[in-house]
């Protein structure tokens, strides 16, 4: 029991909203005697804010809510992951979409019992043991002319794949852990276009709390409640003179992102004027944009590609998607192809 395979759990940022998925994965891993000693967000690894130790893990699991075949995985990370795995260690969670990258980086693709990539030692074939694995990602692309020594790896890898009789289809590669326990409980699970609605089955297991229970004698106090004028003064509950700090929980963690200041109702410091100025500036800018559009129809015909929206491509989508300097801020989402009629959406004080 004392030996666990040390694992790394890499998670897609959107998994953080479904902690049960992570939990399931951990449980599943535990059943295979894998213990995740590290857990990182994939983007942290991708932007270089986290560096992995070499040959540290026996298992790396990538966890994402995306369907396995839809996964967009930063290819450059595959070699980094290969580096951090011990020999014969496994990488799980990616599919044949990246098979070439897997093979280039010295993985063997294994289908049973679970689809995974296993790090193999091909160094005896490459003859260049000292070359760090990192450089291996390049031979098939830009540095091919220098990579003659590495080509055997590539060939070997190809040979390897040809040995494998067949690759399983995507649905088989789906990690069993991604399945959610609750799905089986959903009675009216219809098509994907219908919302899934669930009648909650709540339960407490009663035996687990055996603290003091309310004794029945307390009920008597409800019998005397009709007697009036025997209430405490609410004011006496507050001790104004109590100079000692109240015992409260302080929050210490969290980002210190400061809220954008908002002008007070009776602002006298000029912030309100500033806000009004910003709104007016934006409005006059919008008036220009829209007037211009009405004169030159091509400019407002959002169906014409390239003209339909600003460079960001998000102007028509509504404020939730617009950039901070977008001239359309404050306007409703509009349909491409329709001129915006400001008269219909504004009114005056």
């Amino acid at each position: 029991m004392s030996h666990y395979k040390s694992g790394l759990l890499l998670i897609h940022p959107s998994v953080t909203t479904t902690p049960e998925l992570v939990e399931n994965t951990k449980n599943h891993a535990a059943s295979k005697e894998v213990k995740f000693v590290d857990q990182f967000l994939i983007n942290k690894l991708n932007d270089g804010s986290i560096n992995l130790e070499k040959s540290k893990y026996e298992v790396i699991q990538y966890l994402t809510p995306e369907a396995v075949t839809d996964i967009k995985f930063p290819k450059k990370l595959i070699s980094i992951l290969a580096d951090s795995l011990k020999l014969n260690g496994s990488l799980m969670g990616l599919s044949d979409t990246y098979k070439v990258d897997a093979l280039i980086n010295g993985f063997e693709i294994v289908n049973k019992p679970e689809y995974r990539w296993v790090k193999k030692d091909f160094s005896n074939l490459t003859q260049t043991v000292s070359i760090p694995l990192k450089d291996k990602k390049k031979p098939c692309s830009t540095k091919l002319q220098n990579g003659s020594t590495k080509l055997p790896t590539f060939k070997k890898a190809n040979a390897l794949t040809s040995k494998l009789p067949s690759f399983k289809k995507a649905e088989d590669t789906r990690l069993p852990t991604i399945k959610r326990a609750d799905e089986s409980e959903v009675p009216n699970f219809k098509m994907a276009s219908e919302p899934r609605v669930y009648k909650v089955v709540d339960d407490l297991i009663e035996d687990s709390d055996d603290d003091v229970s309310s004794d029945s004698s307390k009920a008597q106090y409800f019998d005397q409640v009709d007697v009036d004028n025997d209430s405490i003064e609410e004011e006496d509950l507050i001790d104004e003179d109590d100079s000692s700090k109240p015992m409260i929980t302080m929050i210490t963690c969290g980002k210190s992102k400061t809220k954008k200041k908002k002008a007070c109702k009776d602002c006298t410091c000029g912030m309100k004027e500033q806000e009004e100025r910003e709104i007016n500036d934006l409005r006059s800018q919008q008036d220009k944009v829209v007037k211009f559009s009405e004169n030159e129809l091509t400019e407002i015909d959002f169906t014409i590609d390239g003209k339909k929206v600003g460079g960001c491509g998000s102007c028509s989508l509504g404020d939730a998607f617009r950039c901070s300097g977008c001239p359309y801020l404050g306007l409703p989402a509009f349909k491409p192809g329709q001129p915006i009629n400001l008269d219909s959406i504004s009114d005056d004080l």
Partner: protein, 625 residues
């Protein structure tokens, strides 16, 4: 969704923030298959506290450091005893709640003097006095990030909530790691976020043989006997036409006139607004698949949800009527709205760019729903004050199922206005500033209720309730009273003056221009000339008519010696009303300086202590909104 009395989430919410966070917590608990009770503190059945073991409370603070209204009163009929009124009984033993483990979160704003008093009172009573055990020290969120749990962090209240949520869930998951599923015991895991949780009761089309044309049936509201009907008797603008702000003198009387309305100065009227027909049509056009059922009679599968009980449920019950009278789709969406609806972004037919655009929309909405840093949501919705309808118009892929509408859509809540008329007056008068403003969005933003009021014609019906706030105490009678109420802050003060509770009343009123927004000018000057009040006016943008004084606090300072003398030596009551924000802070600072200069208090601390003492005995009353 099963209820359990063992785990309980309670909220006390005034503006809806605490309710929204509690909704998110409840939602997450259900997704983790934790049965629990979820309701306002006021709606909780007090006897159930004996069966409760894990109690989660999220509560804000209102008025003079009080618990919000829905923590104090029940929306259900015939329940005078609430949890809070029960727990305040004197003869309770110190171990009453020792069977409970609790965690508390307070939402507050440190620009108010009684910061987070709501949760502190609950904490003091439940934990310190009645023996409930804390799972972890309570959290106090500050909107200003200047005090409480997020002091000096620059983090918003949502960060404090998420810290609370994390701690609460950790505790429960540790306590109940498994659950029963059929005959098996399985690990408790959160439900796939794409799955929508079915609410306990939802809508369905009523039996077919009940196929009458309901579109012409008279609209009524059923199920809340405390709700009253009024007839509008006056609705006129009292600021000049060229002034930017439209302030209304709005008057109504009880429709049946059988009822003699009694109220006191400082009381408020709750007005129940509705959407315009134009907005309703726009909403239905956006969710066009609703149109075919819009006018069919509907029923609830398992009874009317509690949220709909306040003010009564519209009859005939049709989708169109529900959307108009109950669904607050013109409000700014809170994150719980996205949490519940993002998964309905699945209509590819409305996507110009097909699947790719659908995926983008779905992903963006999911972010709004789940991001713990709510900055993007804030920038997209709160900052420009974008409505739910406008969000749906931007995200055409969202195809909402109508049968669950009352689960994911916020419910229109009443708005509270100070009464300006005197207590004997059967014509209830309100002073209402119509809320309209510009943001980056082209369409003018309008407050739902003030614009509903502005549209009402004489003779039309309005739904209302009166709420007694017990602001004016017997002890005030015939003491000198200093009234400070710039702008619409004048409203409740008019009622105080009309009630004639003292011979010695001084009114400090301020506005921008003498000729534009000096509301109730004639009445005030008449009272002043007859000696009913001493009147001190200041006009902040009109120095010609207001030499040497810009704001009400400037006038207070000018008369500082006299006013301080009244306060110190004649036990005067200081009553401050108006909009929240800087005004009450400035006045407070001025008041402290006055105490120091003329009141004989040498240092800041002594003056502050005196002011706190005044507040304790309701001699310094601040009613701001």
């Amino acid at each position: 969704m099963s209820l359990s009395k063992k785990i309980v989430i309670l909220y006390g919410s005034e503006t809806g923030n605490a309710h929204d966070f509690a909704t998110i917590l409840s939602h997450r608990l259900h997704r983790l298959h934790f049965p629990h009770t979820f309701c306002s503190i006021g709606d909780y059945n007090p006897q159930d506290i004996l069966k409760c073991k894990y109690l989660f409370i999220i509560c804000s603070t209102t008025g003079q450091g009080e618990l919000p209204r829905n923590a104090n009163v029940s929306s259900k009929r015939g329940r005078p005893l609430t949890l809070w009124s029960f727990l305040k009984k004197k003869n309770l033993p110190s171990n009453l709640l020792n069977h409970i483990q609790t965690a508390m979160l307070g939402l507050g704003d440190s620009s108010y003097p009684k910061f987070n008093y709501g949760i502190r009172k609950l904490h003091q009573r439940l934990v310190i006095q009645l023996g409930a055990n804390e799972i972890f020290d309570r959290l106090e969120a500050d909107d200003q990030a200047m005090a409480g749990s997020n002091k000096g962090t620059g983090l918003g209240v949502e960060s404090v909530y998420f810290e609370y949520e994390k701690k609460a869930l950790n505790f429960l998951l540790k306590k109940f790691p498994n659950r029963r599923f059929g005959d098996e015991i399985i690990k408790r895991e959160e439900l796939d976020p794409e799955i929508y949780l079915e609410p306990m009761s939802y809508l369905q089309v009523a039996n077919k043989d009940f196929n009458e044309d309901v579109s012409k049936t008279k609209i009524e509201f059923r199920g809340d006997e405390s709700m009253k009907s009024g007839r509008v008797s006056a609705n006129k603008r009292i600021t000049s036409e060229d002034h930017f702000q439209d302030i209304r003198l709005f008057q109504f009387s009880n429709f049946d006139k059988i009822l003699e309305e009694t109220y006191e100065p400082g009381d408020t009227a709750a007005i129940y607004p509705c959407n315009t027909d134009e907005d309703v049509s726009r909403f239905l056009a956006n969710q066009s698949h609703w149109l075919e059922v819009a006018d069919k009679p509907l029923i609830f599968t398992k009874g009317v949800p509690d949220d709909l009980k306040d003010g009564g449920l519209v009859k005939p019950l049709t989708l169109r009527n529900l959307v108009k009278y109950h669904c607050d789709f013109m409000s700014i969406p809170r994150s719980s709205f996205f949490l519940k609806t993002w998964t309905f972004a699945m209509d590819v037919t409305k996507m110009e760019r097909g699947q790719e655009q659908l995926d983008d929309q779905r992903e963006k909405l999911r972010q709004f729903a789940t991001d713990q840093d709510m900055q993007d949501l804030y920038d997209y919705c709160n900052r420009p004050r974008r409505s739910i309808l406008e969000v749906l118009e931007d995200f055409l892929s969202v195809k909402l199922p109508w049968k669950y509408v009352l689960d994911y859509m916020p419910i229109i809540k009443p708005r509270y206005y100070s009464i300006s008329s005197g207590p004997e007056d059967p014509n209830i008068e309100l002073t209402v500033a119509v809320v309209k403003y510009k943001t980056i969005l082209r369409k003018i933003r309008r407050g739902i209720c003030t614009n509903y009021i502005a549209r009402l014609q004489e003779g039309e019906k309005v739904r209302y309730k009166l709420q007694n706030n017990h602001i004016v105490k017997k002890e005030f009678l015939n003491k000198p009273i200093i009234l400070v109420g710039p702008g619409v802050g004048l409203a409740p003060l008019l009622s105080v003056i009309r009630a004639g509770i003292s011979e010695d009343m001084r009114l400090f009123f301020g506005c921008r221009f003498k000729d534009k927004d000096y509301i109730y000018k004639d009445i005030l000057e008449d009272w002043s000339s007859k000696g009913r009040i001493a009147l001190y006016t200041s006009f902040s943008r009109d120095s010609e008519n207001s030499p040497g004084v810009r704001y009400v606090q400037d006038y207070l300072w000018k008369l500082g010696k006299e006013i301080t003398d009244l306060v110190i030596n004649r036990d005067a009551v200081f009553f401050l009303c108006g909009s929240s924000g800087k005004m009450p802070i400035q006045i407070r600072l001025t008041f402290i300086e006055m105490l120091k200069k003329w009141g004989g208090f040498r240092d800041e601390d002594a003056a502050k202590k005196y002011l706190k003492e005044m507040e304790k005995f309701d001699r310094y009353i601040q009613e701001t909104w």
